[in-house]
Symmetry: C2
Subunit: 234 residues, 2 copies
């Protein structure tokens, strides 16, 4: 394989949060690959689009909407095979990853499928730090532990991790919102928790957790948790 | 205060890991403030320097080398007072933060001292994601918990946090290296742990934890921990 693959973190949504290194990698690519869900415009593409060279090939990859892992894994098999052919032809390929490629990103699925390829990785701004900047509160400071907890974890695990913890971020909230809110109420984090939807995008919304009505749910969100009694934003 | 303060994350060291937004904020500032330790060139300045406008004022702030908090807190009192005066004069001020302003950064000390100021925050690439990119291994994936653990935490706390945990990053390693290595050996993470010194800088070095000799210690490092038996990089 004489070509080179660059896994490019494109950040959380604001196109100005691309790094100079990402801009350079995107502009230099012969082929730009990006994930796309059926019927949706790719967020990664919309962030990077203005930097793609005019003569470059765009290769959208259809990702299944399913929660099950099998269809997604088959999609990555296909992407890896396509990228492998391009690298054999000597092409330079950029694969766009929302946020950071290795922070809960999909880049690992390509890394494990392309052990022979020459691969560079450009880190990106995560939704984690973007969310903290949006609300202007530290994620963690001094010698605090910071925990990143995916919402699909079961209640028992979430409660165990949160109980003695000052600072945490809940990611992948989605359909787990009601359950997570109950957990945070039990662990003493709810009063100070902040929900950020679509961090850094034009449609960004910041809402204290307890301000959501019973049947309301946030979209595309991260919840920042701080233990303490002082309510946030009041 | 008619001026505006921007807290700018400048990333871990590679100047190309500045975001477009950071470059713009740095270039637009009337005054660029950055922390500096006695006898050292400021890392934040060296990352951002080429983007500072020719007519801008540079305001280095001497940070004490002490571990104690009191002298550092007094230094932040002074910085906040100086920035406050500049904002009252209508100046735009950029304060450079290594990494991300709110990920164990010093920006919180300014936020709490300048409640009246108009403040924008530009997130930066953290040493955490930079380190993962350097070693090309995921920080965490799927529904794993990711823990960021400052090395000064005592052994009991570190062991408790690591025991049931697949993925963790140990930050602020410094003089705690020997103790942390012992802890990781006890918790089963040592075999797979990777030490990255000076991530993304020209002097970056990547070393499996167990390859350090008994009297050797890494500088300016983050340790990525993965539980499992398969040794890394062998």
């Amino acid at each position: 394989m004489s070509g080179k693959l660059t896994l490019v973190g494109v950040g959380p949504g604001d196109p100005e949060l691309l790094t100079l290194k990402a801009v350079k990698a995107i502009g230099a690519a012969d082929v730009v690959v990006y994930p796309q869900k059926p019927g949706e415009k790719s967020l990664a593409l919309s962030i990077a689009e203005m930097h793609i060279a005019g003569q470059a090939t765009r290769l959208p990859v259809n990702m299944p909407m399913k929660v099950e892992r099998k269809p997604a894994q088959l999609a990555y098999d296909e992407i890896a095979a396509a990228i492998s052919s391009l690298l054999n032809e000597g092409k330079s390929v950029a694969y766009l990853c929302e946020g950071d490629p290795l922070f809960y990103g999909s880049a690992m699925y390509l890394l494990e499928r392309l052990p022979e390829a020459q691969i560079a990785i450009v880190p990106g701004i995560t939704s984690l730090t973007a969310t903290a900047s949006a609300v202007a509160r530290p994620l963690a400071a001094r010698n605090e532990t910071l925990k990143v907890l995916p919402a699909p974890l079961d209640d028992e695990k979430l409660i165990a991790e949160l109980t003695e913890t000052q600072s945490a971020a809940i990611i992948k909230v989605g359909r787990h919102f009601d359950r997570v809110r109950n957990v945070l109420t039990k662990t003493g984090h709810a009063n100070n928790a902040i929900v950020v939807e679509y961090a850094t995008q034009d449609r960004q919304v910041i809402t204290p957790l307890l301000d959501f009505a019973k049947d309301e749910r946030p979209y595309f969100s991260t919840i920042l948790c701080y233990k303490g009694d002082e309510a946030w934003g009041k």
